[in-house]
């Protein structure tokens, strides 16, 4: 008799027999990955220009756009508070902008329920533009034209890195929904 395919009873998230999702990992991964994104930029060398994309913010809108309905609308409040500890902007900037960004994405989603990745990328690019220019205006220093020009490379880099992060997030999402727990 022919042997049955050992993977015939499993899908992308692992075996479907005797296994179940882990609630802890399913909730932990998105929040933790955004927190890590928040404090990764401080490891970068102290350059004379702002170059590193705001990874925390990118991860937040990434999770929100790639996996809608998973982060609650109020997620910007606690995550922004954490980001404020490390981002170098005046305290409270991330809390305010991250909350507003979550509400903005919610409104965009109501307006355009069916979207493709290009529209999501467009949304992310718009949010990044507003976020970085807002950061330039509300940095606590006098906004000068030169520091606005210096923002250019960072903005382009942030927009271009979004698809890469979206891929990373979808991988993390697969990891999140793997059936880790052994039942019985």
């Amino acid at each position: 008799m022919e042997r049955m395919n050992p993977r015939s009873r499993s899908d992308a998230y692992g075996s479907r027999i005797n296994r179940s999702h882990s609630t802890i990992i399913a909730t932990f991964i998105p929040w933790a990955s955004i927190l890590i994104g928040s404090f990764l930029p401080i490891f970068a060398i102290a350059t004379a220009l702002p170059m590193v994309p705001p990874l925390g913010f990118l991860m937040l809108i990434g999770w929100r756009l790639v996996r809608p309905g998973m982060l609650p609308v109020w997620a910007g409040l606690p995550l922004g508070l954490f980001d404020d500890l490390f981002n170098g902007q005046p305290f409270g900037y991330s809390m305010a902008t991250w909350s507003l960004a979550m509400i903005a994405v919610e409104m965009i989603e109501t307006r355009f329920p069916w979207r493709s990745f290009w529209q999501d990328w467009m949304t992310a690019a718009m949010l990044l533009l507003v976020y970085l220019i807002g950061g330039w205006l509300l940095s606590g220093a006098q906004p000068t034209i030169h520091s606005l020009i210096a923002l250019g490379p960072q903005l382009v880099l942030s927009i271009l890195i979004f698809p890469v992060l979206a891929r990373l997030i979808s991988r993390l999402d697969q990891l999140r929904l793997r059936r880790w727990r052994v039942v019985g």
Binding site: I42, I45, G69, W74, G76, F91, A96, H146
Partner: protein
């Protein structure tokens, strides 16, 4: 992508309330953020303690990353050194001979200096650094230019102390945690430093522009005496920095001064020294309103 049904709560009261509360909390979050933002505009040091504690928390990790970074950088430098080693070697030898001659001359000048200072009865004591630490991190995603050093108030670092590398001025301490401190880099648009031209007494202010250049603003306006390649050093005015530390080199002449490139790029720095404030009394005197008398 298909829309999620998460927003349609149906007849369940509980689901309806949950969604509604979510929106309210998000709105309140934006509001609280805005209030905190306004507060930190008027009181920039208000949340310094919180941030300091957070940076103390991650400083073991950033310290390790800084060590690895420096290690890998010197590895690349070593590889780079092999490239055209012969011609470089010859050039270095020539330079070395010249430098030896210059060094002998400098010795003579130093001796004469000591003699003249002795005549004037000036005393110069060696400046002992408060702390030697690594630049462990930076606010690399923000418009503001801050860096973090791995020494804090436990090492005796206080707000206002100048931070320098072997090459020149890096910045000034802005906030201290117990074992990390935030440094305002020279290129930040809030940083102003009194400088003078190294070879004569042309005095100016060096202001950060926030785009990696410093703006040299001359104090005496008139014919602009600056030239490309002029070196600026600290003048000691203001009382924070010791005079004579390298700051910037003129890269471009403008109407009222010049644009200059910093000598000590923080990206190329690994160890920095935190020095005591040059003239603490002068700083205190400047901070005291005219109406009040200085007391001892």
């Amino acid at each position: 992508m298909a829309p999620t049904g998460g927003r349609r709560s149906g007849y369940s009261r509980r689901a309806q309330y949950n969604i509604f509360t979510g929106y309210i909390v998000a709105g309140v979050g934006a509001l609280i953020g805005a209030i905190l933002l306004a507060l930190s505009f008027f009181q920039p040091t208000l949340f310094g303690g919180l941030r300091g504690a957070a940076n103390d928390g991650v400083s073991p990790a950033t310290e390790t990353a800084a060590t690895v970074r420096t290690g890998s950088k010197s590895f690349y430098d070593a590889l780079n050194g092999y490239y055209r080693a012969g011609s470089k070697n010859a050039a270095l030898k020539r330079e070395m001979e010249l430098a030896r001659i210059k060094l002998a001359e400098a010795d003579a000048v130093r001796q004469e200096n000591a003699r003249l200072k002795g005549l004037l009865e000036l005393q110069e004591d060696e400046v002992k650094p408060v702390a030697v630490a690594r630049l462990v991190g930076s606010s690399s995603a923000s418009t503001r230019r801050f860096a973090y050093v791995g020494a804090g108030s436990d090492d005796g670092v206080t707000v206002g102390m100048p931070v320098r590398s072997p090459r020149g001025v890096v910045g000034r301490i802005l906030e201290t945690g117990s074992d990390s401190a935030r440094v305002l880099l020279l290129t930040d648009s809030e940083s102003i430093l009194p400088v003078r031209r190294a070879k004569d007494e042309v005095v100016a202010f060096a202001e950060g522009r926030g785009d990696s250049m410093l703006r040299i603003k001359l104090i005496n306006l008139g014919i602009n005496p600056l030239k490309k390649g002029d070196m600026f050093v600290t003048s000691g005015a203001g009382g924070y920095y010791r005079p004579g530390i390298a700051v910037a080199i003129v890269a471009e002449i403008t109407d009222d001064g010049a644009l200059a490139r910093i000598v000590s790029d923080p990206a190329a720095t690994d160890y920095v020294t935190v020095e005591p404030i040059f003239e603490g009394e002068a700083v205190e005197a400047l901070a005291t309103p005219i109406e009040r008398e200085l007391t001892d």
